[in-house]
């Protein structure tokens, strides 16, 4: 493929340095600085109050649950937790910002100096890359603008509507240090890092990270340098909102910068926009004329000073770290690193574990999720977890197979119906009439009919050509629409003809 060779060319000549700033909405009940509901959606401007509308005179109060979530996230990222830190105001005018400043953290983040190990499958097998974390801090989200007329952007719009339901939703921002030494795996490392971050947040229960609702947003920094030269100028691609896009954004930006550098042009420090349709980035605002946010400590809030006891107590609430959990499951299931990594990449791990916990045996659980279901997800270009099949469905089907009511083959048809949205397992079985036909009389009737249609075959079998039985079994399976147990049909046939195998 030409892209691959072009990318190989980039790697031969340049070394990429990447960095990621990830904003994730916390799953607290209330907003960051007021008691409004933080639930997604709702009619526009129904989850609002004087505080999150920034009305004159209103004042913020810090949501303790958000601080707690941030500290737990920091601890899970192996960070230091500040014993004293302040919020800061980031000042800029924008109509989706109620106060025309955002309450964020500047030079005193709550968590700092951590790391997250991520695994990427390389040509030499799975390899761990350590991503160092610069900081984890808290801030509030802005409102949401909808532009009328024009191209849906603020420029050229005839009017704009603003919904402040999202204004004040607690966000955490996780910022990596520059990630070096990833070479050709830079795009995969970036993707694996964001996936790992997502899994960690879910495991901690601090956010359910609904990426399709925009609750995780990534800014991707990329620069290239030639060996022995200082780091190149970086660009920042804003609002990259899916795992696949993170990978694509890094790759396309590496290709673009390499072209530029080879042509003897310099890289401009700028923000760039990512386009889902093409996977390309285009130039946005130049950072060289960057806005001055005039940060200063937020005087309406007292400093956050978590006690050592509180931090210790939160440390005891940390769940198993995803990488440790994966190692445990790998050993327990007796699979290789490589197999485990492909389960992770397919997004199947949680689902398989849930299926096993539901009572399905390990092998069957893995088989369904990595087989049928993965194929369907690929066809539909969606995540496994978005499919309309549950661990309980798998248990139900597996139980029916065990009792002889379904064969493996019929089970596939059942799931085909479930995945097509035809209803529950039972509903699909009923609607499609899918059950093993085990009634001897019905099978014998079908066998007799098949023998009558192919009289020569009966003679062949009787004369010892047992392999000829296949034609009759096949005919019976066909007439019962595959719902007969083939072994049983065969046994009945021989019995009928008085032949022993």
């Amino acid at each position: 493929m030409t892209t691959t060779s072009a990318f190989d060319g980039v790697i031969e000549e340049f070394d990429p340095i990447i960095g990621l700033e990830t904003h994730i909405e916390l799953g607290t009940n209330s907003k960051m600085f007021c008691s409004c509901s933080a639930e997604f959606g709702g009619d526009p401007n129904t989850h609002v109050c004087p505080v999150c509308l920034g009305l004159p005179g209103s004042m913020p109060v810090v949501n303790r649950a958000a601080v707690e979530s941030t500290i737990r996230m920091g601890l899970a990222l192996n960070s230091s937790i500040a014993s004293w830190c302040r919020f800061a105001r980031k000042n800029y005018f924008y109509p989706d910002m109620p106060k025309d400043y955002q309450i964020s953290q500047y030079d005193e983040p709550l968590c700092f100096n951590g790391y997250l190990d991520v695994t990427v499958v390389t040509d030499d097998g799975p390899q761990i890359f350590r991503v160092e974390i610069e900081r984890v801090h808290m801030e509030e989200d802005t409102g949401k603008l909808t532009h009328g007329g024009g191209a849906g952007r603020i420029h050229g719009a005839t009017h704009s509507l603003v919904d402040f339901n999202r204004a004040g939703i607690p966000l955490i921002e996780v910022v990596t240090k520059p990630i070096t030494g990833t070479g050709r795996y830079a795009p995969e490392v970036a993707k694996a890092y964001v996936a790992e971050l997502r899994d960690l947040m879910r495991a901690l229960g601090v956010s359910d990270v609904r990426m399709e609702e925009g609750s995780l947003r990534c800014d991707v920094n990329v620069s290239l340098s030639r060996e022995g030269e200082p780091w190149g100028t970086r660009t920042e691609t804003k609002n990259v909102n899916s795992l696949r896009s993170v990978e694509r954004a890094v790759r396309s930006e590496m290709l673009r910068q390499a072209d530029q550098l080879r042509a003897g042009e310099r890289i401009i420090q700028e923000t760039r926009h990512f386009h889902e349709e093409t996977g390309d980035t285009t130039s946005g605002r130049s950072k060289e004329e960057a806005e001055d946010y005039r940060y200063f400590p937020e005087p309406d809030l007292v400093p956050v000073a978590p006690s050592a006891e509180w931090i210790d107590q939160l440390r005891t609430t940390l769940p198993e770290v995803p990488s440790v959990r994966r190692a445990r499951l790998r050993d327990s299931w007796g699979i290789s690193d490589f197999e485990m990594q492909s389960l992770v990449n397919a997004g199947a791990l949680d689902l398989i574990e849930a299926t096993i916990n539901a009572g399905v045996n390990e092998q069957a659980a893995r088989k369904w999720w990595t087989g049928e279901f993965s194929r369907t997800a690929k066809e539909r270009d969606c995540e496994l977890e978005d499919l309309s099949v549950t661990p309980a469905d798998i248990l139900e089907v597996e139980n029916l197979i065990a009792s002889g009511d379904l064969t493996d083959k019929i089970a596939r048809t059942v799931f085909e119906g479930v995945l097509a949205g035809e209803g529950s397992v039972t509903a699909v079985i009923d609607a499609r009439g899918l059950k093993v036909v085990s009634d001897d009389a019905a099978l014998l009737a079908a066998i007799e009919q098949a023998l009558a249609e192919q009289p020569d075959v009966a003679e062949k079998i009787k004369s010892g050509k047992i392999q000829a039985a296949g034609a009759i079994v096949g005919a019976v399976m066909k007439s019962t629409k595959g719902q007969a147990d083939a072994a049983k049909v065969r046994a009945l046939l021989f019995e009928q003809l008085g032949v022993t195998e």
Partner: protein
């Protein structure tokens, strides 16, 4: 007694007297409220203390309180007494302008915590008082709605920014008022109108619902004509508020008990060396010294205390205040409340924001927004905002060192008596110097009171005496203040305000 004389008698009573009479059923809150509304109708054309009055709403509220009282419920020691509110307080359903054209027509959907506390205490609002725009000024001349006049001399300023609240009390339009004090906006108007005003300890009174000028300096407080009335109001509005995270979660000092037991025997009172002499009007100094002699005569030990860093206070203040104000005032962008200019379908959102701010803000507000924006800019932050914060720390330490030696500190409240309207409008620096004695307290976050010390011989205008106490020792202000006030009342045969010319 005719209605007219009853009314003129009622408006001259203290809040404490009115509350007692109302509680005993000798007079109704409705009658007291009506008397003050009549007085407003009579004199506010000359004084212009009020920006908004809704007589029907005030009377309706007074009748509710009367009904409560007649059913035996007396909500507080101020139940049924009317009050004037500085127009910086968010009042649900009642226009709130902050003295600015940019907020013309804004009707808040919520109440400031103070307003809620006053309502719960059965205090009846008369309306909203005039002020320098967004509390930026020392004369009320920066109001977008015209200046307020000093009842002692209508040609003179009533102080600022809370000139409306002070003038309302001094002209007997209201027995009580709420002010806010960022650099002296309660105390300096009290000084030049011959009334009493207290800036409580920072965090002592909730800031929730008070439109912010400089969040780390702002503090609301009580205004009245006597120390006792001030204490009664102080105790109603003070206390922890979970909606203001800078509010102090500790019991409110017992200011009423302190006001009742005014006594300075054995107390050490420190005179701040840096806040006298050059720049202070001679009559201000003479009245200040006369008060010191009284305090010494009452048994206090008077010593001089040096606060070396106070000389930098004004400079630090005029960096910190504009910095915070530039950010606090960003939200006035014409998008969600107040006026909107230039939204004709031809202009971008940035242009509309800009045009709205250009049209809505006055010159002083723009000056301070520009100063603050500059001081916070990257590359200048350390030199300006950062340095100012260091000065702030040093001033706080000066106070700590002083309070290790003395119980309270004292100084004249303002360097001069009320000046003529227009005298300093073109000289911002001269205007800023009015607050030289009051600003250090805001920077350090402790508390202070201004009470009348007499009239300056050269112009016959009131002089303010400032008492400063450590944080959360607000009761000391009242202990010293009421002792001095009692001695002065003995000397004058009444409160200083009784000498105000009739309008």
């Amino acid at each position: 007694m005719s209605d007219a004389s009853l009314n003129s008698d009622l408006v001259r009573q203290s809040a404490a007297t009115l509350a007692t009479a109302i509680a005993r059923g000798e007079v109704s809150s409705e009658q007291v409220t009506q008397a003050h509304l009549d007085r407003i109708t009579e004199v506010d054309g000359q004084v212009h203390a009020f920006l908004f009055v809704d007589p029907e709403a005030s009377l309706a509220r007074a009748r509710e309180v009367d009904a409560q009282i007649s059913s035996g419920v007396i909500a507080s020691p101020l139940a049924g007494v009317p009050i004037a509110l500085k127009d910086l307080l968010a009042t649900r359903g009642v226009p709130t302008t902050c003295g600015s054209k940019i907020l013309e027509g804004w009707i808040p959907p919520y109440n400031a915590t103070i307003v809620e506390r006053l309502e719960a205490a059965g205090v009846v609002s008369l309306g909203k008082t005039n002020m320098d725009e967004f509390a930026m000024g020392s004369s009320t001349e920066n109001s977008g709605y015209g200046p307020t006049h000093n009842p002692w001399d209508l040609e003179r300023i009533p102080g600022g920014s809370g000139g409306g609240s002070a003038a309302a009390i001094a002209s007997f339009e209201a027995p009580l008022a709420i002010g806010t004090d960022t650099g002296g906006s309660i105390r300096q108007p009290a000084a030049v109108t011959g009334t009493v005003g207290v800036k409580p300890t920072y965090g002592g009174v909730s800031r929730y619902g008070i439109v912010a000028l400089a969040s780390s300096l702002d503090q609301a407080g009580p205004c009245a004509r006597s120390v006792m009335d001030t204490a009664l109001l102080h105790s109603v509005i003070a206390g922890h508020d979970p909606r203001d995270s800078t509010s102090i979660n500790a019991p409110v000092p017992d200011v009423i008990a302190a006001a009742k037991s005014g006594d300075v025997r054995g107390m050490k009172i420190g005179v701040i060396k840096q806040l006298q002499g050059e720049g202070f009007q001679s009559g201000v100094i003479s009245q200040f010294n006369a008060s010191l002699e009284i305090l010494a005569g009452l048994g206090a030990e008077i010593v001089e205390v040096s606060c070396d860093h106070f000389q930098y206070a004004l400079g630090a203040y005029y960096l910190i205040l504009p910095s915070e104000a530039s950010s606090n005032l960003a939200r006035f962008d014409g998008m969600r409340f107040g006026i909107r200019v230039g939204d004709d379908g031809q202009h971008s959102v940035e242009q509309v924001m800009s045009a709205t701010r250009e049209a809505g803000f006055g010159a002083e507000v723009k000056r301070r927004i520009m100063l603050g924006t500059y001081a916070l800019s990257s590359g200048y932050y350390d030199a300006y905002y950062g340095q100012a914060q260091k000065i702030r720390t040093l001033i706080t330490r000066d106070f700590e060192a002083a309070f290790a030696q003395v119980d309270v500190l004292v100084s004249p409240t303002a360097p001069t008596t009320a000046f003529k309207l227009g005298a300093k409008v073109d000289d911002p620096l001269a205007m800023y110097l009015n607050d030289i004695a009051t600003i250090p307290v805001n920077l350090a976050g402790n508390c202070a009171m201004s009470l009348p010390a007499g009239l300056a011989p050269e112009d016959g205008l009131p002089v303010g005496f400032q008492i400063i106490a450590p944080a959360m020792a607000d009761d000391r202000l009242y202990k010293v203040g009421s002792a001095l006030e009692a001695a002065l009342v003995d000397k004058w045969g009444g409160l200083l305000i009784d000498k105000v010319p009739s309008l």
